[in-house]
């Protein structure tokens, strides 16, 4: 177990990165440190292997004060994975994985066996990959090597600093799954830093939410989702997750669903300009607004093409009034009913003074649904009702 007591950290430039941190990291668990950038999560993690020394306070690992331990020796007993992977480009994969065992002066054959075992663990054939160089591997493979390199000397503690954030979404998912699988087998004490709430919920046993150098809330993902400590936590978790977790399928309002930056044009635009704009933004209609963003009308590409020959004309001459609009705050269901009743492809959302704020389109509705029911939750039977 790792315990941080009364930790403060002030950097040389006077920036106070951590303010009175008291934390316990339970053995055999994944603790995720999460928060916006600059919240001190990485600093907190780096205290544990003495890459950063606290200004005040004490850190103990299984009761031993780490300030009494030689930092180099300490680091060899703690696995370390960084965001940029940091494989040594001049060493083969086998050498990279065997770094810490070599530093610990293991027997050569033992290192070889260990490297092969670890490569197989992440599904990489040792015969194929041992003698390759990091540059010959894909990003996902490189970070797999980064992870097994941290496991090589079988440390009890592993620190991971946003290890998957630089990867593409598919590799990231795969590596998260592999980490969960490895953890079930090995039960390491893992301190995992991320800024991605989905990742935290997926892998964490305990989430530690930080902000401005302080711990805001600590708890299991379930606890944090069900009982967010304050508004910051709520906003960080995001409304959608909260709603999904609490089963409150509150009706969404149009503001949440609409596209915020629909294509608009001023009434004085010429028809050629309007056509160019539609082409560029790949839309078949423009909403015409004045300088105060008050909705004036609507032109479709047909109207523009129809009158295109008349050079003097502006969009103001060809636009049609917008018949159907909804006010902000209208429930989405009302908007959808309107759209289906009048066969509308889109529906403008306006404020009280007819100021144009957004557009409901079929695409925006689908996007909204995709966000509310993210594919990450595929194992839940939520799809049946949706």
């Amino acid at each position: 177990m790792i315990r941080l007591q009364g930790i403060e950290k002030r950097f040389e430039d006077g920036f106070q990165a951590l303010k009175n941190i008291n934390l316990e990291f339970k053995g055999g668990e994944i603790t995720v440190l999460i928060g916006p950038s600059g919240c001190g999560k990485t600093t907190t993690m780096k205290l544990i292997n003495r890459l950063i020394t606290p200004t005040r306070g004490q850190i103990t690992i299984n009761g031993t004060d780490i300030s009494t331990v030689n930092p180099v020796e300490l680091r060899r007993k703690i696995g370390y994975v960084i965001q940029n992977i940091g494989l040594f480009p001049h060493m083969t994969i086998a050498k990279n994985v065997g770094v810490v065992p070599r530093l610990l002066k293991w027997d050569k054959h033992k290192i070889d066996r260990r490297v092969n075992e670890l490569l197989r663990l992440v599904g990489m054939d040792p015969d194929l990959y041992r003698d390759r160089y990091p540059s010959e591997l894909s990003g996902g493979q490189q970070q797999r090597i980064g992870v097994i390199r941290a496991l090589a000397a079988d440390p009890d503690i592993i620190l991971m600093d946003e290890p998957f954030s630089a990867l593409d979404p598919i590799s990231r998912e795969q590596l998260q799954d592999e980490l969960i699988r490895l953890q079930q087998e090995f039960k390491k004490t893992i301190i995992f830093v991320t800024h991605d709430m989905d990742e935290a919920i997926k892998i964490a046993d305990t989430i530690v939410l930080m902000k401005d150098g302080e711990v805001v809330q600590t708890g299991s993902p379930e606890q944090v989702l069900r009982h967010p400590a304050n508004d910051f936590v709520k906003s960080f978790i995001g409304k959608k997750r909260l709603r999904a977790e609490n089963g409150l399928e509150a009706l969404p309002i149009v503001d949440e669903v609409m596209a915020d930056n629909p294509v608009t044009a001023y009434p004085s635009r010429g028809l050629a300009e309007a056509l160019k704009m539609m082409e560029h933004r790949r839309v078949d209609s423009l909403f015409i607004v004045d300088r105060n963003h008050i909705l004036r009308g609507y032109v479709s590409i047909y109207q523009v093409l129809d009158q295109y020959g008349e050079e003097g004309k502006t969009v103001a001459d060809v636009m049609k009034p917008v018949v159907h609009t909804v006010r902000t705050g209208t429930p989405l269901t009302v908007a959808l009913k309107l759209m289906s009743k009048y066969g509308l492809t889109n529906l403008a959302v306006v404020k009280n003074n007819n100021q144009f704020v957004g557009l409901i389109t079929r695409g925006s509705v689908v996007r909204h649904l995709a966000e509310v029911y993210p594919p990450a939750q595929r194992e839940e039977p939520a799809y049946e009702g949706a």
């Binding site: 680091r75 060899r76 370390y80 940029n84 494989l87 480009p89 810490v100």
Partner: protein
């Protein structure tokens, strides 16, 4: 060998007759260049390592300015300047050539060390490499090709400049050339020049192979296998 008719008489005879002189001059030449470059490495590489480790911008610019100034002084002028200080002979020549070798070696050492990816160093430190191990196992191997190219380039230059050093009595292949000019003996001029060229090419070739051998021996590759993230 039509061209050699220029020299009048048989060039082979000349070589046979003078070859102890030629050999001695070549050995001297190699000695002067070798000592200069070796001394340059001994001074410049540690300075490069220290500068890379503790980047002090003003110190770095001062050192580079000084080394730069030496670089811009014409070789003959530098040799002349050193006469009042060291007199004439081999010593001032070696010293001047040593000054010339400093900058390129220093610059390449520093560039090589600074080219090492920060994340590579961070992970090395985080995994428990001591400072010396980081230098020895990570930074120097990755910087090695840069450093070697600096050393090779310098060596080739120094071999050619050594030829001029004969003017202050340093000896070497320049002796043959300038004697040849003095007594109007084309064989001597040609032999001195050709030997200097061959020497430069040969040394560059040997150093190139040494570089490859060291990299094979340590199981490292050229750092052009840098990872693209």
């Amino acid at each position: 060998m039509k061209a050699l008719d220029l020299f009048g008489g048989s060039y082979a005879d000349f070589l046979r007759e003078r070859y102890p002189d030629i050999l001695r001059a070549t050995a001297e030449h190699l000695g002067i260049s070798g000592i200069s470059v070796a001394a340059g490495c001994i001074v410049a590489i540690p300075i490069g390592i220290v500068l890379a480790r503790h980047p002090i911008p003003w110190l770095q610019s001062v050192i580079f300015s000084i080394a730069n100034i030496f670089q811009t002084i014409p070789s003959l002028a530098l040799l002349a300047i050193l006469i009042p200080i060291f007199g004439i002979g081999t010593k001032p020549a070696v010293f001047a050539l040593f000054l010339y070798s400093l900058l390129p070696i220093l610059r390449n050492t520093l560039a090589g060390l600074q080219s090492v990816d920060k994340s590579v160093l961070e992970s090395a430190r985080g995994m428990g490499y001591s400072a010396a191990q980081q230098l020895w196992h990570i930074q120097l191997p990755l910087a090695f090709p840069y450093m070697m190219s600096g050393i090779r380039m310098t060596t080739v230059y120094v071999i050619s400049w050594t030829t001029v050093a004969t003017l202050i009595g340093a000896g070497g292949l320049g002796d043959l050339i300038f004697t040849g000019i003095g007594v109007n003996k084309n064989e001597l001029i040609f032999t001195g020049a050709a030997a200097a060229i061959l020497l430069a090419l040969l040394v560059d070739f040997i150093l190139g192979n040494l570089e490859k051998w060291v990299m094979r021996k340590t199981g490292t590759t050229k750092s052009d296998t840098t990872i693209s993230y």
